[in-house]
């Protein structure tokens, strides 16, 4: 496989449910904290509108996608753009470990929601740090 230097963390654009917010905040948690300087992020809508710079960035990076639901918009659109999805994560998988707890709403996370964010970020950061560079 071709070696790629950069890692791109791409959350879905989910809006209106807590899943989308968790996806987004997890991406920020990775790029701003747990893997700061090792990963960048990208606006998915810019990519689906065919922005050349965004397309090039995707094709030259190892992509980590975080999807809020089973529609897998982030993963699918990275693949459609010709990108390599090194790892795909679904928020529901992390929420299963917190059944019965309230992660928050579309606009605000509870402490459980932030815990889920940190768990997702740490889980994916391990792959970023240990992945093929």
């Amino acid at each position: 496989m071709e070696q790629k230097d950069t890692v791109l963390v791409v959350p879905c654009s989910g809006i209106g449910k807590v899943h989308g917010l968790i996806s987004r905040e997890s991406a920020y948690e990775i790029t701003d904290n747990v893997a700061k300087g090792q990963a960048d992020t990208l606006c998915l809508a810019l990519l689906v509108k065919g922005d050349e710079e965004a397309l090039a960035k995707v094709r030259n990076s190892r992509c980590v996608t975080i999807d809020g639901c089973a529609k897998y918009c982030a993963k699918k659109n990275i693949e459609i753009a010709g990108g390599e999805v090194a790892e795909s994560f679904m928020v529901n998988d992390a929420l299963k470990n917190h059944r019965g707890e309230q992660p928050g709403t579309a606009t605000k996370l509870t402490e459980t929601g932030w815990t889920v964010v940190r768990e997702i970020a740490c889980s994916l950061a391990n792959g970023i740090e240990g992945g093929e560079k």
């Binding site: 654009s13 989910g14 809006i15 905040e25 529901n92």
Partner: protein, 283 residues
């Protein structure tokens, strides 16, 4: 009635203004209602939003000059009723959001202020929908099994043995799944609606729901033609968990032969008896 919008914000993530467009959309949703459209899902699967866009005027909110949301709407030839550009709003506002990607308190205050400006500028307009046909309040009988309390509407609903209900108003009916189903399946994660225009016979499949535990084809209790689907469930399938008999309806049908269909349906009392048996066998 305040005019509601279908709100299409950009997906801004890596510039300051984009996340604010999202917060404006959500603040507007809290303030006056309406529906928010996920821009990437709209791009990938625009038919999911067809009904919504036929019912509500479209408000587009762009974060920056790239105007992804506007380009998306233009690419799909959508009629845009109102546009907002956060960059322009910043020029005229005294509020100054933080220069961070995730909006802080000042960013949130700015977003709410922009949402209020939009809301106050909306004229009144009657909405096109059939909610009034199915708006009568619902009273429930309940059945307790272990830690579960199952609700069944006392009147106006009929059920098949596949745990799907029908609520009739004149020649129209709404169908959905029972409280028993949603509690057994737990958290809904996906809804696949039937196509509008599809003709179904009694016991034909009329959509699919999936939860973290299982999936289920909805078996229509009635025969008819699908004239509307509950597009809210596409974005928020958990509505089925929250309100299976009212907001969680699945499809609306124009009935063809309800009198015959009735012969194979159960009323509240009979359905309660059925789920008593099912619960005893399954739990």
């Amino acid at each position: 009635m305040t005019k509601k919008f279908a709100i299409l914000p950009c997906n801004g993530l890596d510039k300051q203004n984009g996340p604010i467009s999202r917060e404006v959309a959500l603040a507007l949703l809290e303030e006056i209602g309406g529906k928010v459209i996920c821009p990437v899902l709209l791009n990938n699967a625009s038919p999911r939003y067809e009904k919504l866009l036929g019912e509500l005027p479209l408000l587009v909110i762009d974060g920056c000059g790239t105007k992804c949301a506007s380009k998306l709407a233009a690419g799909l030839s959508l009629k845009v009723d109102r546009k907002v550009l956060i960059t322009d709003e910043m020029k005229t506002s005294a509020l100054r959001p933080e220069d961070t990607l995730s909006p802080g308190p000042a960013g949130m205050e700015f977003a709410k202020a922009v949402a209020t400006l939009i809301a106050e500028d909306m004229p009144e307009e009657a909405m096109r929908n059939s909610e009034s046909l199915f708006s009568a309040p619902v009273d429930y009988n309940t059945f307790t099994h272990d830690k579960y309390i199952f609700r069944v509407p006392r009147e106006g609903f009929f059920f098949n043995e596949n745990d799907c209900w029908v609520r009739v108003s004149g020649t129209r009916a709404r169908v959905g799944v029972s409280d028993y189903v949603q509690q057994n399946m737990t958290d809904m994660t996906y809804f696949s609606p039937p196509p509008v225009g599809k003709t179904v016979e009694q016991f034909d499949e009329v959509g699919t729901i999936e939860s973290v535990k299982s999936s289920m084809d909805l078996i229509s209790p009635v025969s008819g033609t699908v004239i509307a689907v509950n597009t809210s469930l596409v974005e928020s399938p958990e509505i089925v968990n929250e309100d299976p008999y009212e907001k969680g309806w699945v499809a609306e049908l124009e009935l063809t032969d309800f009198d015959s269909d009735m012969e194979l349906l159960l009323d509240c009392k009979s359905y309660l008896e059925l789920i008593r048996k099912k619960a005893a066998e399954e739990h």
